[in-house]
Structure formats: C-alpha cells, structure tokens
C-alpha cells in the first residue's frame, strides 16, 4: 500500500448537487476498491492559467488516499469515461501531510 494524491478538475457550469455527486462518487470508488480515503479537500472555483478544453474556470477537488494498483486502475477507468471532468493528476507520496492546506479560503 502506498499513499497517493489525486486532484480532479470539474467543469464550472455544474450545479451544487452534481458536484456533491462527483465528490461522493470518487470517495466510494476508492473505498470499494481496496483503498482508503484519508482526506478530501475542496479548493473551490479557481481560474485556470490557460484554457483547457475551452474552459476558463474549474472546480477543484483534492483527494488524499491510500491504495494499490487496483485502486488506481479503477480510478483511471472511471475518470476517462466521465464527461464532467476536464483533467486530473495523480501523484505518489511516501508521506502525506494532512495539516497544511494551501488553498484554504480566507474569510
């Protein structure tokens, strides 16, 4: 088992219900395929530095989880088919720091 981080960019023109569905969907996918979600972060609506598939803004969701090859394969399959996701990035880590949040909303 190793630690991973997965960041998903969803389309900007989605209702709040859909966003929640997406969030829960990938939470379930990880948990059901011999993985374990440690933390979920929502970075909110951010401006993209350059256009991606003709979108200027995107909704970022960030997962920190523990898993193996099976979980990654399952995730990749689901993300490829999913039309609401513009882009994603999976990074492997030896250690996860769950304390620092770089995209915390300041109010």
């Amino acid at each position: 088992m190793a630690f991973y981080e997965n960041t998903i960019i969803a389309k900007q023109d989605l209702a709040e219900k859909d966003l929640k569905n997406i969030k829960d969907k990938y939470n379930e996918i990880i948990n059901s395929s011999s993985g374990k979600v440690i933390k979920i972060e929502e970075w909110g609506l951010l401006n993209l530095a350059n256009k991606i598939k003709n979108y200027k803004k995107g909704f970022y969701i960030h997962y920190k989880f523990e898993g193996n090859k099976k979980t990654l394969d399952e995730m990749d399959k689901k993300i490829k088919v999913d039309g609401t996701i513009i882009r994603n990035l999976i990074v492997k880590y030896k250690k996860l720091d769950t304390e620092n949040e770089f995209f915390k909303k300041e109010k």
Partner: protein, 90 residues
C-alpha cells in the same frame, strides 16, 4: 590555536582582496541556496506562491545560475512546476 583562528578570519572577511590576477574572487557571486536553509518552504505543486517566484513572465523556468538554487532542489522545482502546469495552476 588562537593565532590560526585570527588568520582565518582575516582572509574570509576580505574575500575580494586578491593576491594574483588569476585567483578566483569567491564571495562576490556565491549566495546560499534559499530552499535548503532551516525551516525552508516546502517545494510542492500546491504551493503556488513559492513556484511563481521561480518562473519568468513568459512561463519559463528560471535557471539556477540566476536564482542560486542548489542542484538537488532545482530538480525538484522543475518537477513540481511541470505538475502545476498540467493542472492549470501556473
């Protein structure tokens, strides 16, 4: 022992004072790496404020000659900057 220490101090304090023309003048351009000191900021693709400092206006990665980042940290920087570019953060 005391004498030795004194000599060493004198030399280090005045590094531009050269004995010959071909001697390298150390100390003028050498700066320590800002990312390998104690309590240095984390080099990570989520830490955009840090990464922005090492990218030019056109989005190019700055060379370590200018920024005086050590070799090891420069490798990490390039990797993290490229990751941030994939996600559209930079």
């Amino acid at each position: 022992m005391k004498r030795k220490n004194k000599k060493f101090q004198k030399r280090s304090s005045n590094s531009l004072n050269k004995l010959s023309l071909f001697q390298k003048n150390d100390g003028k351009f050498s700066r320590k790496c800002p990312l390998s000191i104690k309590n240095a900021p984390v080099v990570d693709y989520k830490n955009i404020d840090l990464l922005k400092r090492y990218v030019s206006d056109n989005g190019k990665i700055m060379s370590s000659k200018i920024t005086s980042v050590s070799q090891n940290k420069q490798k990490k920087l390039t990797r993290e900057i490229k990751r941030a570019k994939i996600l559209g953060l930079l």
